[in-house]
Symmetry: C2
Amino acid sequence: MPTNQVYVSLDAVIVTVSANEPNILVVDRSDGQPPILPSGPLDADEDETLELAVRRWLSLQTGITVSYVEQLYTFGDRRRGAAGGGERQLAVGYIALVPEETPSEGSLWVGTYELFPWEDRRFGRRDVLLNDLAPRLTEWARGDALREGRVQITFGLGAPWDPIRVLERYELLYEAGLVEEQSTDEGGPAPQTSFGRPLGVDHRRIVATALGRLRGKLTYRPVIFEVMPDTFTLTELQRSVEALLGMELHKQNFRRIVDRGELVEATGEHRSSTGGRPAGLYRFRSEVASERPQPGFPLPRPKAL
Amino acid sequence: MPTNQVYVSLDAVIVTVSANEPNILVVDRSDGQPPILPSGPLDADEDETLELAVRRWLSLQTGITVSYVEQLYTFGDRRRGAAGGGERQLAVGYIALVPEETPSEGSLWVGTYELFPWEDRRFGRRDVLLNDLAPRLTEWARGDALREGRVQITFGLGAPWDPIRVLERYELLYEAGLVEEQSTDEGGPAPQTSFGRPLGVDHRRIVATALGRLRGKLTYRPVIFEVMPDTFTLTELQRSVEALLGMELHKQNFRRIVDRGELVEATGEHRSSTGGRPAGLYRFRSEVASERPQPGFPLPRPKAL
DNA sequence: CTAGTAATGCTCGGATCGAGCACAAGTAGC
DNA sequence: GCTACTTGTGCTCGATCCGAGCATTACTAG
C-alpha cells in the first residue's frame, strides 16, 4: 500500500529591483547554514487556493504584501527534505514581484547575481566571470561531444547567449560539480572551486527557475512595472529591465519599444537627476493589458555568433 | 493546528496528432459522468522524482510509453476533489507527447477541438464558431468596459488572435457561464447553451493550460517531432504544427523556416501521395538542440488588426 | 495528351531591428 | 557667463526578417 500523504510547502521567490540590482528575499537560519527562501505550509483546511495561501503567510512571515504572484514549478524529488529519513516533501514554488521595500526582522534581500554571477553580463562583467568558468566547463566537457555542445549552447560560448536558460546553466554547473550543492547532495568532497553563493536545500535551483521564467515573461507581459514605483524615468525603467535580463540594452531602441507599445504615459513632471538634462516622469498605463496582446520588452535578436 | 497532509495525484495530458487532429487521452468513467484525464497517485515511498512517477503509472494505466514529459502546473483549489467533504487534493499536471499509438482498454483519444471548438481556426472554421460565441460574449460584457476589453483581446475580436491564450479564453467562458463546468461547480442551473465538451472535475481547465503551453513551446523548441513518426514529408510536418496551433500556415514560408533552422534532413526517399508530385521524406535532426538556441516554429506575426 | 494536384524554387515589398548621429537641456567648475 | 560634461530625446539608415504571391516541376487520373 503506497503512501500518498505528503507534506506540502509553498516556497516563494520574492523579487525586487533596487539600485539597479535584482534582489531576492531570503531567510537566515540560525545554525550557520546557507539561507533559504521564505516558505510556509499549505493549510489544507483553511486555504481556499494555493495563491491565497502564499499571500497569507508571506505577509505574516516577511511583512511584505505582494501584488503580483505567479506559480512557478513544483519540486518533488525525494532528495528534498531531510536527506534520508523524514516525510516526503513537496514544494510548490511561486514568484512574487514587489517594489523596493524593507522586510521585517529575520529576512533580508540578497543580490540575485551573488547566487549566479555568470548571469550578469552588464558592463563587460562577462569577461571576468566567463574567463574563470569557461575553462572549467570546457575541461569538464573535453572529449564528450554532447557535453561540449551543451556547454556551447547554454553558456553562449561560440553561440549566442540566451538569457532565458538560467536553469539549464545552473544544472550544467551542478552536473559538472562546480556549485556547492552538488557535493552537499551527493556527499562527496567539496569542490576546490565553486561558483556563486549557495542556498539551502534546492532553493538555488528554484531561484534559477524563477529568474529564467521572469526573463521570459518580461518579453511579453508588462511585469516589470510590478517592481517599479508609481512614477519613474525611462532610464530607470530601462535599468530595471536590464538588471533582470542581465544585459544592456540600446537606449534609443528601448524607447522606441516603449513608445510603440504605449506602455507608459508622461506625468508632465520632470526630475533633475545627478547631472544632465532632466528626465520626464512616466507612469504605467495599466490599460495596455486589455488593449494589445504581448505588451512587453522583446529580447534583442540573438546575434548570429 | 493546521492540517498539512495532502493527497497528491499526478494528472497527465497526453497529446498526439493523428489525421491532422490533435488528440488527448481520456479515461471513461462507468457512471456516465464526463471522462477525466489519466491520473495516478504519487507513491511517496517509492517514486524518486515526480517525472518518474508519471512515467511509471502512465505505462501501467494506459499502456503507453511516453518519451517526452514536462511539468505543466499544480492545481490546488479547495473546490477540487469531492466537493465539500473529503481530503484536500493536489494535482500536479504533466504534458506528455507521443506519436500516434493505440491505448489499452479503458482509455481513448478525444479530439482537443471537441473540448475547445473555438480554438480551431483552420479552414475558415472560425466563422461558424465565433458567430455563435461572439454574440454571447459581447452580450455578457455589454456595458462593462473591462469585460469588453478582455473579450476583444482574448478572443481576437477586433484584435489579433493569440493562439497562446487558450486558458484565458476558457476562463472567460467559465466566468461568462458558457461552459458546463461553471454550473456544475457553483450548483446553479445548467446554461441553455454551452460550448465544447466538458471533462470531469477541473480537467478541461488543465487541458486548456496544456494546449496553451504547448503552442508556446512549439515556437521555440522542436517538440513537434515528439508526435511525428520517424520519417515524414514536409507537408505532414506542417499539418501537425497547424493542428496544434489551430491555424493554417503559409507553405513556402514554413519551409523557409525548416530550411533555415536545419531542423530536418532528407532521407533521399520519396513518397507518392494521393496525387501530385511525390514529396521528399525527411527525418528530425535531433542535433539541432545542441547547435542553436530556439529551434522551433515561430508564430506568424500577429496582424495589426 | 490534357487537366488537376501537390511539391518546390524564387522574388519582392513592407515591417522590424540594430546601431549610430545629432541636437536639447540641464549641472558643475571656473 | 562661458565651457565642458552629462543625460535625455528625436531621427535616420542599412540589414534582416516576414508575409504573400508567382512560376515551375513532377507526379496521377481520365
